[in-house]
Symmetry: C2
Subunit: 326 residues, 2 copies
Amino acid sequence: MQETRLDTARIRAARRVIDPIFLDTPLYRCEALEPALGCTVSIKLETANPVRSFKARGTEVVANLLADSGSRAAVCASAGNLGQALAWSGRGRGIDVTVVASRFATVTKLDRIRALGARLELVDGDHEMARERAAAIAQYDGIRLVEDSLDIETCEGAATIGLELMETAPAFDTVLIALGGGALATGVGHVVKTLAPEAEVICIQPLGAPAMTHSWRQRRVVTTDSTNTIADGVAGRYPIPAVLSDLLLVADDAVLVQESSIIAGMRLLLTHAGLVVEPSAALGIAAILEDPDRFAGRHVVTIVCGSNVDVDAYHRWVGAAPIHRS
Amino acid sequence: MQETRLDTARIRAARRVIDPIFLDTPLYRCEALEPALGCTVSIKLETANPVRSFKARGTEVVANLLADSGSRAAVCASAGNLGQALAWSGRGRGIDVTVVASRFATVTKLDRIRALGARLELVDGDHEMARERAAAIAQYDGIRLVEDSLDIETCEGAATIGLELMETAPAFDTVLIALGGGALATGVGHVVKTLAPEAEVICIQPLGAPAMTHSWRQRRVVTTDSTNTIADGVAGRYPIPAVLSDLLLVADDAVLVQESSIIAGMRLLLTHAGLVVEPSAALGIAAILEDPDRFAGRHVVTIVCGSNVDVDAYHRWVGAAPIHRS
């Protein structure tokens, strides 16, 4: 394998600065899902932690470096999960965190960012506009801009999931990874391809937000004018060239799935695994549903990467009426 | 403290025979729950494993002993979670497992018991009738009867949760434990009272299944004629004297909660923690909701002990319409 920006020794070192509350997450076979999917399915569960997504693995690495260098402030753009995670990691280290998000972002994600003490700024546009605004704030205020997937620490943090996958027996055949900016896919993909090159790394994106997948297929950055998906966590339009370069080295395939499959995946995870997940976290199951022959008889690990949903929207998706809010 | 039937050294030894997939479960503070509850809340999550409850900690210890002694069969009565767990633990060790359950038990639990390869026998009565029938099978077939809470291995397995709680910092003030047969309460309670006697151990039972709580309060076995609760996992009528004796030594209080509070607890865990739980697993949150002043400002750990629910029933409880089943 050609060299990605990632380094396995640095990823092992990252584990030592991440709060253990985010590490060694559950990894277990979920047989109840298997009749519907036709393959052996293991779940790597990244939702049972204070921010309900894997993102804090990366922000812990970032915030640790910031604290070591005496930095007292940082800003990021976020669809919601990175913002929560950076707010959490910053708060514990006395770092003032500003999060820029789209005003169309998931409401509970925005509420949690505020509750964790971060300053939240909303832009009247999508995630790419939030990225521009965050960069402007960083320049104006002279503070660190945390750029998901571009900043190697975010990839290294996500890559620690890969190390945990490698520790398990029996080995799996395929890992299914939600593809957004690419930190999770390149991080986990790097570790898998380094330590178990025979395992297949498949990235999944919604048809409604296909920029990185198109880029991977064409081996050059392809942007889109808009996104249209409920999977808010992966809805970018401007792939980052350095991240694409890494993805080209570690991904065996990049797959696009329909919204209806994402919803069916969320429903299966609820019904047969008892898991509430956000749409991005159901992309792997959606990929199996769309192409069961491809996975038949294989042992597939899917990373359930987040559970931050608005409950009413969740019930709409899985087919139930709104509930009374407590 | 007077001596319970439990022994901390044996509990530490139990950890070594339990499949690691059931150990070191997530323990994390869930700040999003706190505004509604008025105290610091940490969750010990026992649902992210192949049987979606804590019960396999105990059945792993039981099945390990059975395998070591050359036993090839076992029978238990179960409301559903013990049966799944024993089926799982037995299957991996070549032990034929028979589970006796009420025909009114949660359907998904019964389905999972069958799917895990156990022989399932249903009785036309409640859990106490299932216990009688399981004992009769054991005697007739000359095989091991696994009795939840009476068999010390089931308590030792559950008690390993207590060891994990003790490893964490910062320390908690109170642990809230669902009370049914008593294995979880006496196991965890023993460890907490041995290693952190200043921490408060509070057991919670539904008003509709109060036998063990009444027994604890009157310091003698009190039975009831019936049960009436959605919390199927804790709905016993005949407390076991030896378990009550242990409970009297380790519990600081035993509390009864209303069904409406259990449902409100399930709804809070869904809305603010993204967790689907079975009713028994919401008993701790229900107790806080019923008496917030008691817990105000304290750090409370609640053990989320299981997530095996029928999804349609779950939606009825939390207030949403039935979903389309996949």
